[in-house]
Protein backbone atom coordinates (compact mmCIF):
# COMPACT_ATOMS: atom_id res chain seq x y z
CA UNK A 1 0.00 0.00 0.00
CA UNK A 2 1.17 3.51 -0.60
CA UNK A 3 1.80 5.87 2.26
CA UNK A 4 -1.40 7.78 1.48
CA UNK A 5 -3.53 4.65 1.26
CA UNK A 6 -2.27 3.52 4.64
CA UNK A 7 -3.05 6.90 6.18
CA UNK A 8 -6.49 6.95 4.63
CA UNK A 9 -7.45 3.48 5.83
CA UNK A 10 -6.00 4.18 9.26
CA UNK A 11 -7.94 7.42 9.60
CA UNK A 12 -11.17 5.74 8.51
CA UNK A 13 -10.74 3.06 11.18
CA UNK A 14 -10.00 5.69 13.83
CA UNK A 15 -13.18 7.59 12.94
CA UNK A 16 -15.26 4.44 12.98
CA UNK A 17 -13.88 2.79 16.08
CA UNK A 18 -13.31 5.81 18.29
CA UNK A 19 -16.03 8.17 17.06
CA UNK A 20 -13.46 10.75 16.06
CA UNK A 21 -13.99 13.81 13.90
CA UNK A 22 -11.93 13.32 10.71
CA UNK A 23 -10.77 16.93 10.96
CA UNK A 24 -9.09 16.19 14.30
CA UNK A 25 -6.90 13.42 12.88
CA UNK A 26 -3.84 15.43 11.96
CA UNK A 27 -0.34 13.89 11.99
CA UNK A 28 0.69 15.85 15.06
CA UNK A 29 -2.53 15.05 16.96
CA UNK A 30 -1.66 13.41 20.25
CA UNK A 31 -3.60 10.20 20.81
CA UNK A 32 -4.28 10.68 24.51
CA UNK A 33 -4.47 14.43 24.99
CA UNK A 34 -6.08 15.48 21.71
CA UNK A 35 -8.05 12.44 20.56
CA UNK A 36 -9.16 11.33 24.02
CA UNK A 37 -7.93 7.76 23.70
CA UNK A 38 -7.13 5.94 26.93
CA UNK A 39 -5.23 2.83 27.92
CA UNK A 40 -8.15 0.53 27.09
CA UNK A 41 -8.43 2.15 23.66
CA UNK A 42 -4.75 1.25 23.20
CA UNK A 43 -5.87 -2.40 23.15
CA UNK A 44 -8.20 -1.63 20.26
CA UNK A 45 -5.56 0.49 18.56
CA UNK A 46 -3.26 -2.54 18.54
CA UNK A 47 -6.09 -4.48 16.87
CA UNK A 48 -6.48 -1.74 14.23
CA UNK A 49 -2.75 -1.95 13.50
CA UNK A 50 -3.00 -5.72 13.25
CA UNK A 51 -5.84 -5.40 10.75
CA UNK A 52 -3.80 -3.00 8.63
CA UNK A 53 -0.48 -4.84 8.74
CA UNK A 54 -1.40 -8.47 9.32
CA UNK A 55 1.12 -8.45 12.20
CA UNK A 56 0.22 -8.97 15.84
CA UNK A 57 1.30 -6.17 18.13
CA UNK A 58 0.86 -5.78 21.86
CA UNK A 59 -0.40 -2.60 23.52
CA UNK A 60 2.96 -2.52 25.33
CA UNK A 61 4.79 -2.01 22.04
CA UNK A 62 2.77 1.17 21.69
CA UNK A 63 4.03 2.64 24.91
CA UNK A 64 6.25 5.16 23.17
CA UNK A 65 3.68 6.05 20.52
CA UNK A 66 2.25 9.49 21.13
CA UNK A 67 0.83 10.94 17.91
CA UNK A 68 -1.07 9.86 14.82
CA UNK A 69 2.15 10.22 12.82
CA UNK A 70 3.93 7.88 15.26
CA UNK A 71 1.32 5.18 14.66
CA UNK A 72 1.46 5.62 10.89
CA UNK A 73 5.24 5.26 11.05
CA UNK A 74 4.86 2.04 13.07
CA UNK A 75 2.35 0.69 10.57
CA UNK A 76 4.68 1.37 7.64
CA UNK A 77 7.59 -0.20 9.53
CA UNK A 78 5.58 -3.36 10.20
CA UNK A 79 4.39 -3.61 6.60
CA UNK A 80 7.92 -3.14 5.26
CA UNK A 81 9.34 -5.70 7.69
CA UNK A 82 6.66 -8.28 6.91
Amino acid sequence: MSRDEIAERFHALLVERFELDPNDIRPEARLYEDLDLDSIDAIDLAIVVRELTGRKVTPQEFRHVRTVADVEREIRRLIDAG
Binding site: E16, R17, F18, E19, D38, S39, I40, D41, A42, I43, D44, P59
Partner: protein, 270 residues
Protein backbone atom coordinates in the same frame (compact mmCIF):
# COMPACT_ATOMS: atom_id res chain seq x y z
CA UNK B 1 -34.84 27.03 59.71
CA UNK B 2 -33.42 29.14 62.49
CA UNK B 3 -31.84 32.56 62.25
CA UNK B 4 -28.60 33.09 60.33
CA UNK B 5 -26.57 32.80 63.51
CA UNK B 6 -28.37 29.60 64.50
CA UNK B 7 -27.54 28.06 61.18
CA UNK B 8 -23.86 28.87 61.54
CA UNK B 9 -23.67 27.42 65.02
CA UNK B 10 -25.45 24.30 63.86
CA UNK B 11 -23.12 24.06 60.89
CA UNK B 12 -20.12 24.46 63.18
CA UNK B 13 -21.43 21.84 65.58
CA UNK B 14 -21.85 19.39 62.73
CA UNK B 15 -18.40 20.21 61.40
CA UNK B 16 -16.90 19.41 64.79
CA UNK B 17 -18.81 16.12 64.80
CA UNK B 18 -17.63 15.35 61.28
CA UNK B 19 -14.01 16.16 62.13
CA UNK B 20 -14.32 14.00 65.21
CA UNK B 21 -15.78 11.27 63.04
CA UNK B 22 -12.69 11.28 60.82
CA UNK B 23 -10.42 11.08 63.84
CA UNK B 24 -12.42 8.21 65.30
CA UNK B 25 -12.44 6.45 61.95
CA UNK B 26 -8.66 6.73 61.80
CA UNK B 27 -8.37 5.41 65.35
CA UNK B 28 -10.68 2.49 64.61
CA UNK B 29 -8.71 1.69 61.46
CA UNK B 30 -5.46 1.83 63.41
CA UNK B 31 -6.87 -0.41 66.12
CA UNK B 32 -8.18 -2.77 63.46
CA UNK B 33 -4.70 -2.95 61.95
CA UNK B 34 -3.03 -3.72 65.26
CA UNK B 35 -5.28 -6.34 66.80
CA UNK B 36 -8.24 -7.81 64.92
CA UNK B 37 -6.49 -7.96 61.56
CA UNK B 38 -3.35 -9.82 62.65
CA UNK B 39 -5.46 -12.28 64.67
CA UNK B 40 -7.74 -12.77 61.69
CA UNK B 41 -4.76 -13.42 59.43
CA UNK B 42 -3.32 -15.96 61.83
CA UNK B 43 -6.47 -18.05 62.01
CA UNK B 44 -7.69 -17.72 58.44
CA UNK B 45 -6.68 -20.09 55.64
CA UNK B 46 -5.45 -18.29 52.56
CA UNK B 47 -8.48 -19.06 50.44
CA UNK B 48 -10.81 -17.33 52.92
CA UNK B 49 -8.52 -14.42 53.62
CA UNK B 50 -9.93 -11.85 51.22
CA UNK B 51 -13.48 -12.58 52.26
CA UNK B 52 -12.72 -12.26 55.98
CA UNK B 53 -10.64 -9.10 55.58
CA UNK B 54 -13.51 -7.52 53.71
CA UNK B 55 -15.87 -8.69 56.42
CA UNK B 56 -13.69 -7.04 59.05
CA UNK B 57 -13.54 -3.80 57.09
CA UNK B 58 -17.30 -3.98 56.76
CA UNK B 59 -17.66 -4.21 60.56
CA UNK B 60 -15.57 -1.06 60.89
CA UNK B 61 -17.72 0.73 58.36
CA UNK B 62 -20.91 -0.40 60.06
CA UNK B 63 -19.64 1.10 63.33
CA UNK B 64 -18.92 4.30 61.48
CA UNK B 65 -22.39 4.40 59.93
CA UNK B 66 -23.97 3.80 63.31
CA UNK B 67 -21.97 6.69 64.77
CA UNK B 68 -22.85 8.98 61.90
CA UNK B 69 -26.56 8.21 62.15
CA UNK B 70 -26.52 8.08 65.93
CA UNK B 71 -25.19 11.60 66.35
CA UNK B 72 -27.62 12.91 63.76
CA UNK B 73 -25.11 13.90 61.10
CA UNK B 74 -26.82 11.89 58.39
CA UNK B 75 -29.69 9.59 57.65
CA UNK B 76 -28.98 6.93 55.04
CA UNK B 77 -31.73 5.11 53.26
CA UNK B 78 -31.86 2.43 50.62
CA UNK B 79 -34.77 2.30 48.24
CA UNK B 80 -35.43 -0.38 45.72
CA UNK B 81 -38.04 -2.92 44.82
CA UNK B 82 -36.11 -5.31 47.02
CA UNK B 83 -32.36 -5.45 46.53
CA UNK B 84 -31.71 -7.51 43.40
CA UNK B 85 -29.30 -10.44 43.38
CA UNK B 86 -26.00 -8.65 42.94
CA UNK B 87 -23.70 -11.66 42.56
CA UNK B 88 -21.20 -11.11 39.78
CA UNK B 89 -22.70 -7.79 38.73
CA UNK B 90 -20.97 -4.49 38.15
CA UNK B 91 -22.53 -1.97 40.53
CA UNK B 92 -22.30 1.39 38.83
CA UNK B 93 -22.83 4.29 41.21
CA UNK B 94 -22.53 8.03 41.18
CA UNK B 95 -20.42 9.33 44.02
CA UNK B 96 -21.66 12.58 45.53
CA UNK B 97 -20.08 12.08 48.95
CA UNK B 98 -17.72 9.94 51.01
CA UNK B 99 -20.85 8.77 52.81
CA UNK B 100 -22.11 6.67 49.91
CA UNK B 101 -18.95 4.55 49.75
CA UNK B 102 -18.90 4.16 53.54
CA UNK B 103 -22.49 2.93 53.59
CA UNK B 104 -22.09 0.57 50.64
CA UNK B 105 -18.95 -1.00 52.10
CA UNK B 106 -20.77 -1.36 55.44
CA UNK B 107 -23.76 -3.17 54.03
CA UNK B 108 -22.35 -5.19 51.13
CA UNK B 109 -19.60 -7.15 52.93
CA UNK B 110 -18.73 -9.39 49.99
CA UNK B 111 -18.47 -6.55 47.53
CA UNK B 112 -15.29 -5.97 45.58
CA UNK B 113 -14.46 -2.41 44.65
CA UNK B 114 -12.51 -0.76 41.86
CA UNK B 115 -10.41 1.86 43.57
CA UNK B 116 -7.57 4.25 42.91
CA UNK B 117 -4.03 3.08 43.65
CA UNK B 118 -3.80 5.84 46.24
CA UNK B 119 -6.13 3.74 48.41
CA UNK B 120 -4.29 0.50 47.66
CA UNK B 121 -1.05 2.21 48.66
CA UNK B 122 -2.49 4.35 51.47
CA UNK B 123 -0.16 4.42 54.50
CA UNK B 124 -3.02 3.58 56.90
CA UNK B 125 -5.45 1.54 54.85
CA UNK B 126 -3.17 -0.49 52.60
CA UNK B 127 -3.26 -3.68 54.71
CA UNK B 128 -7.04 -3.75 54.33
CA UNK B 129 -7.18 -2.66 50.71
CA UNK B 130 -4.37 -5.00 49.61
CA UNK B 131 -5.36 -8.03 51.67
CA UNK B 132 -9.00 -7.43 50.78
CA UNK B 133 -8.10 -8.07 47.15
CA UNK B 134 -9.68 -4.92 45.79
CA UNK B 135 -9.12 -3.98 42.17
CA UNK B 136 -6.87 -1.14 40.98
CA UNK B 137 -8.45 1.19 38.45
CA UNK B 138 -5.28 2.92 37.36
CA UNK B 139 -2.35 0.55 37.05
CA UNK B 140 -0.44 0.39 33.79
CA UNK B 141 -2.15 -2.70 32.48
CA UNK B 142 -5.80 -2.25 31.51
CA UNK B 143 -6.04 -5.92 30.57
CA UNK B 144 -5.42 -6.69 34.24
CA UNK B 145 -8.33 -4.50 35.28
CA UNK B 146 -10.62 -6.38 32.91
CA UNK B 147 -9.30 -9.78 33.98
CA UNK B 148 -9.53 -8.93 37.68
CA UNK B 149 -13.16 -7.92 37.22
CA UNK B 150 -13.94 -11.02 35.19
CA UNK B 151 -12.37 -13.24 37.84
CA UNK B 152 -14.14 -11.47 40.71
CA UNK B 153 -17.47 -11.77 38.94
CA UNK B 154 -16.86 -15.47 38.28
CA UNK B 155 -16.37 -15.91 42.02
CA UNK B 156 -19.81 -14.36 42.54
CA UNK B 157 -18.55 -11.06 43.92
CA UNK B 158 -20.42 -7.89 43.09
CA UNK B 159 -18.00 -5.20 41.95
CA UNK B 160 -18.58 -1.59 42.91
CA UNK B 161 -17.29 1.04 40.51
CA UNK B 162 -17.64 4.81 40.44
CA UNK B 163 -17.43 5.90 36.78
CA UNK B 164 -16.75 9.49 37.80
CA UNK B 165 -13.41 8.30 39.13
CA UNK B 166 -13.76 10.67 42.07
CA UNK B 167 -16.47 12.38 44.07
CA UNK B 168 -18.92 14.54 42.14
CA UNK B 169 -18.54 18.30 42.04
CA UNK B 170 -21.84 19.82 43.00
CA UNK B 171 -23.20 22.06 40.29
CA UNK B 172 -20.93 20.64 37.61
CA UNK B 173 -22.38 18.27 34.98
CA UNK B 174 -21.97 14.56 35.64
CA UNK B 175 -18.86 13.26 33.84
CA UNK B 176 -18.43 9.51 33.58
CA UNK B 177 -15.16 8.01 32.39
CA UNK B 178 -15.32 5.05 30.05
CA UNK B 179 -13.72 2.44 32.31
CA UNK B 180 -16.98 1.12 33.78
CA UNK B 181 -18.60 0.59 30.36
CA UNK B 182 -15.41 -0.93 28.98
CA UNK B 183 -15.13 -3.37 31.86
CA UNK B 184 -18.81 -4.36 31.61
CA UNK B 185 -18.46 -4.97 27.87
CA UNK B 186 -15.13 -6.77 27.86
CA UNK B 187 -15.62 -8.85 31.02
CA UNK B 188 -19.23 -9.61 30.11
CA UNK B 189 -20.72 -8.23 33.30
CA UNK B 190 -24.32 -7.30 33.96
CA UNK B 191 -24.79 -3.81 35.30
CA UNK B 192 -26.74 -2.65 38.35
CA UNK B 193 -27.13 1.15 38.43
CA UNK B 194 -27.06 2.65 41.93
CA UNK B 195 -28.36 6.20 42.02
CA UNK B 196 -27.21 8.15 45.08
CA UNK B 197 -28.93 11.34 46.22
CA UNK B 198 -27.14 13.48 48.82
CA UNK B 199 -29.10 16.38 50.17
CA UNK B 200 -27.86 18.82 51.32
CA UNK B 201 -24.38 18.21 49.86
CA UNK B 202 -21.78 17.14 52.41
CA UNK B 203 -18.31 15.61 52.31
CA UNK B 204 -18.14 16.26 48.62
CA UNK B 205 -15.86 18.46 46.48
CA UNK B 206 -16.47 21.99 47.66
CA UNK B 207 -18.02 20.81 50.93
CA UNK B 208 -15.22 19.50 53.14
CA UNK B 209 -15.70 18.22 56.68
CA UNK B 210 -15.28 21.70 58.15
CA UNK B 211 -18.15 23.08 56.07
CA UNK B 212 -20.94 20.77 57.05
CA UNK B 213 -24.50 21.90 56.36
CA UNK B 214 -26.67 23.05 59.25
CA UNK B 215 -29.12 20.20 58.96
CA UNK B 216 -28.99 16.44 58.82
CA UNK B 217 -27.75 15.03 55.53
CA UNK B 218 -30.20 12.74 53.81
CA UNK B 219 -28.53 10.13 51.65
CA UNK B 220 -30.80 7.96 49.53
CA UNK B 221 -29.44 5.05 47.53
CA UNK B 222 -31.67 3.54 44.86
CA UNK B 223 -30.92 0.19 43.25
CA UNK B 224 -32.14 -0.65 39.76
CA UNK B 225 -32.61 -4.16 38.39
CA UNK B 226 -29.58 -5.76 36.71
CA UNK B 227 -29.37 -4.96 33.00
CA UNK B 228 -26.98 -5.24 30.08
CA UNK B 229 -24.46 -2.49 29.37
CA UNK B 230 -25.65 -2.52 25.74
CA UNK B 231 -29.04 -1.32 27.01
CA UNK B 232 -27.36 2.02 27.67
CA UNK B 233 -26.13 2.17 24.07
CA UNK B 234 -29.65 1.79 22.74
CA UNK B 235 -29.16 -1.96 22.59
CA UNK B 236 -26.88 -1.65 19.59
CA UNK B 237 -24.05 -4.03 18.83
CA UNK B 238 -20.66 -3.35 17.26
CA UNK B 239 -17.10 -2.51 18.11
CA UNK B 240 -16.46 -2.35 21.81
CA UNK B 241 -14.60 0.93 21.59
CA UNK B 242 -17.59 2.59 19.94
CA UNK B 243 -20.12 0.83 22.19
CA UNK B 244 -18.21 1.86 25.30
CA UNK B 245 -18.45 5.49 24.23
CA UNK B 246 -22.17 5.23 23.49
CA UNK B 247 -22.87 3.30 26.68
CA UNK B 248 -20.93 5.78 28.80
CA UNK B 249 -23.00 8.63 27.41
CA UNK B 250 -26.12 6.52 27.93
CA UNK B 251 -25.15 5.89 31.53
CA UNK B 252 -24.54 9.59 32.12
CA UNK B 253 -27.92 10.49 30.66
CA UNK B 254 -29.60 7.80 32.71
CA UNK B 255 -28.06 9.05 35.95
CA UNK B 256 -28.83 12.67 35.14
CA UNK B 257 -32.48 11.77 34.51
CA UNK B 258 -32.76 9.68 37.67
CA UNK B 259 -31.03 12.29 39.81
CA UNK B 260 -33.52 14.86 38.57
CA UNK B 261 -36.41 12.73 39.81
CA UNK B 262 -37.23 12.60 43.48
CA UNK B 263 -35.52 9.92 45.54
CA UNK B 264 -38.87 8.46 46.44
CA UNK B 265 -39.75 7.24 42.97
CA UNK B 266 -38.55 3.83 41.84
CA UNK B 267 -35.83 3.84 39.20
CA UNK B 268 -36.95 3.44 35.63
CA UNK B 269 -35.08 1.07 33.30
CA UNK B 270 -32.50 2.55 30.90
Amino acid sequence: MGTGRGNRIESLRRSVLAGGGFVIFGAVALFGLCIPLPILLLVTPRRLRERRVRGLASVGFRLLVRMIEGCGLARIEVRSEGIPDLAGCLLVANHPSYLDAVFLMAHLPRVNCVMKSSLLNHPLFFPFTRLGGYIASDNDDPQKLIEDCRAASARGEPILIFPEGTRSTRGAPLRFRRGAAQVALRAGLRVVPLVVHCDPPALTHGHPWYRMPDERVHLVIRFAAPCEIADFAGGSAGDWSRLARQATRGLENYFVRQLASTPHDPLSPP
